[in-house]
């Protein structure tokens, strides 16, 4: 552990972070300001906003792993998640919940980071399956990450391989409760520990040819 911590510190100290993975031509297209944590509103206004957020959860339609197959029954008439105000959206700009469908290979992790950063806050992450918790079945695989929460902040983990749609609904309910209580501040956590997350991401994504700031 200490070895890898040292390695992360090294990467973090070397990072210049102004999209230095990009060519000069591409830099013009991307933003180069750091993100700022957004303070929640005070009092009843925030409570109202949180209630609205909890009642309208838009999932990003990105099936990152095999867990995505249980999203289909969830969307259709057997489990019908629309009843709870949950619906899929095809673009990350409009979505607010990212369901990581199980194991994330390094290649997908790159896209997960990018899609996550493109989502507009407040945004929430559901880690689906044991493989997002500790690697699950693929704990010794050379190509799948073991702990999702080292790369993006995770609000709710749903364990199992694969978790049933009922478990997913229960997970969504937990997430709703967390949002209403104002505990789901994953985005601000990400921004406050931005360097740590970036160093972790850069440790596994060896060919970092995408912008550091994806918003």
């Amino acid at each position: 552990m200490s070895d890898s911590n040292k390695q992360i510190d090294e990467i973090a100290s070397q990072m210049k972070m102004a999209n230095d993975g990009l060519s000069e031509q591409d830099k013009a297209y991307f933003c180069d300001t750091r993100p700022h944590a957004v303070e929640p509103y005070k009092g009843i206004l925030e409570k109202f906003a949180n209630w609205a957020r909890s009642q309208s959860l838009w999932i990003l339609g990105f099936g990152t792993g095999c867990g995505a197959i249980e999203l289909r029954p969830l969307m259709t008439s057997r489990y019908d998640m629309y009843r709870y105000g949950i619906q899929p959206r095809p673009t990350p700009r409009q979505a607010c919940v990212f369901v990581i469908g199980g194991y994330a290979s390094v290649k997908t992790a790159k896209r997960i980071v990018r899609s996550y950063e493109q989502m507009q806050g407040p945004k929430f992450v559901l880690g689906l399956g044991s493989c997002t918790v500790n690697g699950g079945m693929y704990w010794d695989s050379y190509n799948t990450i073991n702990r999702l929460d080292h790369y993006i902040p995770v609000d709710v983990y749903i364990t199992g391989c694969m978790p049933r749609p009922e478990a997913l609904l229960a997970g969504f309910n937990t997430l709703k409760g967390m949002i209403r209580e104002g505990k789901a501040e994953g985005m601000n956590k990400y921004i406050e520990n931005f360097d740590w997350y970036k160093a972790n991401q850069k440790k596994i994504i060896k060919d970092w040819n995408m912008p550091d700031y994806n918003w």
């Binding site: 957020r53 309208s56 339609g61 629309y82 009843r83 095809p90 409009q94 507009q120 407040p122 918003w215």
Partner: protein
């Protein structure tokens, strides 16, 4: 001076009613669609929560001035369409700004919103946005043909381009409706209404499986909230327009609710039972049989 203030008050009431009606109608129709699919569906008030949530988003991305103005133009198009249609016949509150040539202006405003959106979507820089806009404008040009022919036919029939006068001419019994006095014009217009409401099989603009999701790909937060509000108003306005033109208008607000609900139901049922055309097929479709029906309606009036 009091008259102006009163008119402003009436307009606000009218807008308030149509916005809420449009939102509730959207929520209801989502449930109808769900019933066709064997589900329960989302709550009727879900569109309200979505709009509130989108407006409470903490961050937002903008891509330039036109990106800001796109949703504004779209909203202006929706408002413009509605404000020149008399929603309830004989009512002072819901008469809006109807005047003697308003039909032409309304047709212009139906186009206007999409053009404004094109500018905003173009500046967002996402490759799917201009694709969607291109599809939308091409299809719009196609379904305007049977719709315009239908309008020409009924304008020739009643010698007027004022919606109020057209509604007045249809009063006094179901057989006076243009749907029965000029069925060809009604058929042509109702087919182009399917294209106008962007449901299947003409949902080429927001085709999630093809170009997710077309023009509003980059729209988020309050931009999206504004677009959703506009969709409610625009939907309501179009329904009221078609009710006025072909189905005898409405003498009271309840008649309006029933008639517009049924017209909307028709598009939803068609939408739930068809896949989507490709854009070239859609254009060919509109320029085929519906256009011929429209021409037949015009020719019949000229004879």
């Amino acid at each position: 001076m009091n008259d102006i203030l009163l008119k402003a008050l009436y307009t606000l009431i009218s807008l308030f009613v149509i916005t809420n009606y449009g939102l509730l109608l959207g929520g209801t129709m989502a449930r109808v669609r769900a019933k066709v699919q064997g589900r329960i569906g989302q709550p009727v008030w879900q569109p309200y929560i979505d709009i509130i949530k989108n407006n409470f988003k903490r961050t937002g991305i903008y891509h330039g001035v036109m990106f800001y103005l796109g949703p504004v133009f779209r909203l202006a198009g929706g408002l413009g369409t509605y404000l020149f249609i008399p929603a309830v016949y004989g009512s002072v509150v819901f008469a809006n700004f109807s005047f003697s040539g308003d039909l032409l202006l309304v047709m212009y405003f139906i186009f206007f919103g999409q053009l404004g959106m094109a500018l905003g979507a173009g500046q967002s820089g996402h490759p799917y946005s201009p694709l969607g806009v291109g599809r939308g404008l091409a299809q719009m040009a196609a379904f305007e043909v049977p719709f315009s022919l239908s309008i020409i036919a009924i304008a020739a029939q009643y010698q007027t381009l004022s919606i109020t006068e057209l509604v007045a001419a249809q009063q006094g019994g179901i057989m006076n409706w243009i749907a029965f006095t000029n069925p060809l014009a009604m058929i042509a217009a109702m087919i182009s209404f399917l294209g106008m409401s962007m449901g299947n099989p003409f949902s080429v603009v927001i085709a999630p499986q093809e170009i997710p999701i077309g023009p509003p790909t980059e729209m988020q937060s309050s931009f999206l909230g504004m677009l959703q509000t506009n969709r409610a108003i625009f939907n309501g306005a179009k329904l009221v327009l078609f009710m006025n033109l072909y189905f005898g208008g409405a003498a009271s607000i309840w008649v309006m609710v029933i008639k517009t609900f049924l017209i909307y139901l028709y598009t939803v049922i068609v939408g739930a039972s068809f896949p989507r055309f490709r854009v070239d097929q859609s254009i060919r479709f509109f320029l085929g049989i519906p256009t011929l029906i429209g021409i037949a309606a015009v020719v019949l009036q000229m004879l």
